[in-house]
């Protein structure tokens, strides 16, 4: 499909390879909307199927949020269920258990953000630094496997390792120390979850960073080496900046889901530590609504989560721009 080349070649792209500030970009001359549409028609056509998908399967169902303001009866449907105004929100906000769930959720997601998030990056750098192809391939194809093991089994394995009759306790006892049951210790709950997440998903998480590492131009390493930069300095000055855009991207997206934890993972272990430590927003909604056929509270929490998530993503994106990074999308700053 030959495209009659537009008047202005898009040369501005070449100047900001690693995400230079939007300001340095050349501003194209004003074209009329029609001219621009004509120029961009191929790009827009390519976008269209995906756009349609998002509109039909994600925007059309948004009426579901109406549930938050209704006493939703499944068999009556959205139209006929009674309006209750903000009652679902009021009931939630006045419930101390709700706020305790919010606090627990934040504690868990922040712990994971600080202690889980960097692990796949470190692991990817480690794998990338391996010279032997065979070792590298072997380790790489082993570490991603746990991703496919269901939480039920993972939780059970961790109970066997860290539980009251687990390996850890046996080791401690054989050293004459008192046993320690991490799986029922409320204080250790965020750490337990993080540990499990690291084991399950760190390997899987490396894939995306490994792909990013491959897109770093080796010439950069070469010239850095010629300039006398050692291993660590090359990592710091070439490797890390090379994958920074993707790190920032994932970080921003993670912030958007800061009020969500792995539902199944927590549900399976909530009772072991009790609700004061183990109740998160998603399980709160489950126990205070969905389980007894009440969809209103779930939708209300969903709505709050969506608003806060959106605010955080947009905010974080702004911050990323401020530091000269692309964030999730580029060019919002004008």
């Amino acid at each position: 499909m030959a495209d009659s080349a537009p008047a202005l070649p898009r040369t501005e792209r070449s100047s900001d390879r690693q995400g230079a500030s939007a300001l340095s970009r050349a501003r194209p001359a004003r074209l009329s909307l029609r001219q621009r549409l004509k120029r961009d028609r191929v790009m827009l056509l390519l976008t269209l199927p995906g756009l349609l998908y998002f509109l039909v399967f994600h925007y059309a169902p948004l009426f579901g949020y109406l549930t938050a303001f209704k006493d939703y009866e499944v068999y009556l449907g959205f139209a006929q269920s009674a309006w209750v105004g903000l009652a679902n929100f009021q009931a939630m906000f006045s419930d101390p258990a709700f706020w305790s769930a919010v606090a627990n959720t934040l504690q868990i997601t922040l712990t994971q953000l600080v202690f889980y998030f960097p692990v796949p990056i470190a692991l990817a750098l480690l794998l990338n630094s391996l010279v032997g192809d065979r070792v590298r391939r072997f380790v790489q194809s082993v570490v991603y496997l746990p991703h496919f093991i269901g939480w039920t089994i993972i939780v059970s394995v961790f109970q066997q390792l860290l539980g009251g009759t687990g390996v850890l306790t046996h080791v401690l006892q054989s050293l004459g120390l008192p046993g320690y049951d991490m799986t029922t210790d409320p204080g250790a709950f965020p750490w337990l979850l993080t540990l499990e997440s690291v084991w399950k998903d760190a390997g899987w998480g490396t894939i995306i960073f490994l792909a990013a590492l491959l897109s770093i131009d080796p010439q950069l390493y070469e010239s850095a080496a010629i300039d006398g930069a050692g291993r660590w300095r090359r990592t710091w000055h070439v490797t890390l900046p090379g994958i920074t855009p993707i790190i920032i991207l994932l970080l921003v997206l993670n912030l958007g889901s800061i009020l969500s934890t792995g539902f199944e993972q927590v549900l399976l272990q909530r009772d072991a530590v009790g609700p004061d430590a183990g109740e998160v927003l998603d399980t709160y909604v489950y126990y205070h609504g969905i389980k007894s056929g009440q969809w209103g509270p779930a939708a209300a929490v969903g709505l709050v989560k969506m608003l806060i998530g959106t605010a955080l993503v947009l905010g974080a994106n702004k911050v990323a721009h401020f530091f000269g990074q692309d964030g999730v999308y580029r060019g919002a700053a004008r």
Binding site: R10, E12, R13, P49, D133, I153, S156, Q160, A211
Partner: protein, 306 residues
């Protein structure tokens, strides 16, 4: 270690090491080796346990407290149970079909959209990106999703297993970010040569993005392979169920039952539980090495030079 010694990707093959990479210190090497061994062990131990347990009888499993590393009397009963009756084999075919068609469709649409959105100056691209991005934060509930799918006439059709999860906004932004990281000089020179946007995509962008496309292909394929929720919601005819939906029924614990009726269901046999996992895992194990090639080989290098 007989990989062709391409100029730059040579550093990834075998012992050949670019001149500028100094040989690591002995301590560094030992530390790295130790770390790798530990990581590998931590991962392999439970995996071996899963396979070992799937090959054991219940008595052995119970005595070992749930995880058998080396089965004393290996047996295939669990696998026999899963494959008997032909339900799993049929579901396997359904899943293969869904995964192949779904992944192809998803990658196609995602590549198109990610490319279409990869130039901020394209009219409306910022708005469209926002539209896509926000959906990551939406969750209007299963009932609203169900009603939408049903009103589109997709209820109880195989299309309902693909279309509702056709594009992942996450994969979209990831791929877009990779596209945007491509060296602009290449695109510009293609443009100077008179290539249109579509031609640039096919001739320049795609060949340079093999690693990223391999990544999202893997992500899509795995999510289709593991997906059961769409099948649960949108299928009525149990005979159409894909593999994860069928395998699930081997491992349910009856958590939803009230206490007094709890005895109704025997706790799922652990051997079967583990065998189910192995059955679901094997196809992924088979496909991974093919995709892995693209993660281990630099694609960019040659292109930039050429």
């Amino acid at each position: 270690m007989a990989l062709p010694a391409e100029t730059m990707s040579a550093r990834r093959s075998g012992n050949a090491r670019p001149a500028w990479v100094e040989s690591p210190s002995r301590v560094g090497r030992a530390a790295k080796a130790l770390l790798l061994v530990l990581i590998t062990l931590a991962v392999i131990y439970p995996i071996v346990g899963v396979v070992g347990t799937s090959l054991s009888d219940q008595a052995t499993i119970s005595v070992n407290g749930g995880l058998v590393l080396i089965p004393t009397h290996p047996q295939l009963d669990a696998y026999r149970e899963i494959f008997a009756g032909g339900v799993v084999s049929r579901a396997l075919l359904v899943s293969l079909g869904i995964t192949l068609c779904g992944t192809a469709a998803s990658v196609l649409v995602t590549v198109g959209m990610a490319y279409g959105l990869s130039r901020p100056e394209v009219t409306g691209s910022r708005v469209i990106l926002m539209v896509a991005l926000l959906t990551m934060l939406f969750n209007p509930g299963i009932i609203a999703n169900f009603l939408t799918v049903k009103s589109l006439g997709l209820y109880n059709s195989f299309a309902a297993l693909v279309l509702p999860s056709l594009v992942s906004a996450f994969n979209l932004v990831v791929l877009r970010s990779f596209f945007m990281g491509l060296p602009g000089e290449l695109l510009d020179s293609a443009r100077v040569d008179g290539a249109g946007d579509f031609r640039i995509l096919v001739r320049v962008v795609l060949p340079l993005s093999k690693a990223a496309i391999a990544v999202i292909t893997l992500f899509y394929a795995v999510s289709y392979w593991n997906a059961f929720f769409n099948a649960l919601l949108y299928l009525q005819d149990s005979a159409k169920n894909p593999l994860p939906m069928v395998l699930r029924s081997f491992v349910i614990g009856g958590q939803s039952l009230h206490e007094a009726a709890a005895g109704e269901i025997p706790a799922p046999q652990q051997a079967v539980q583990m065998a189910v996992l192995v059955v679901a895992l094997v196809p992924i194990l088979c496909v991974y090495p093919f995709l892995q090639r693209y993660f281990t080989k630099g694609v960019l290098t040659g292109a930039v030079k050429g």
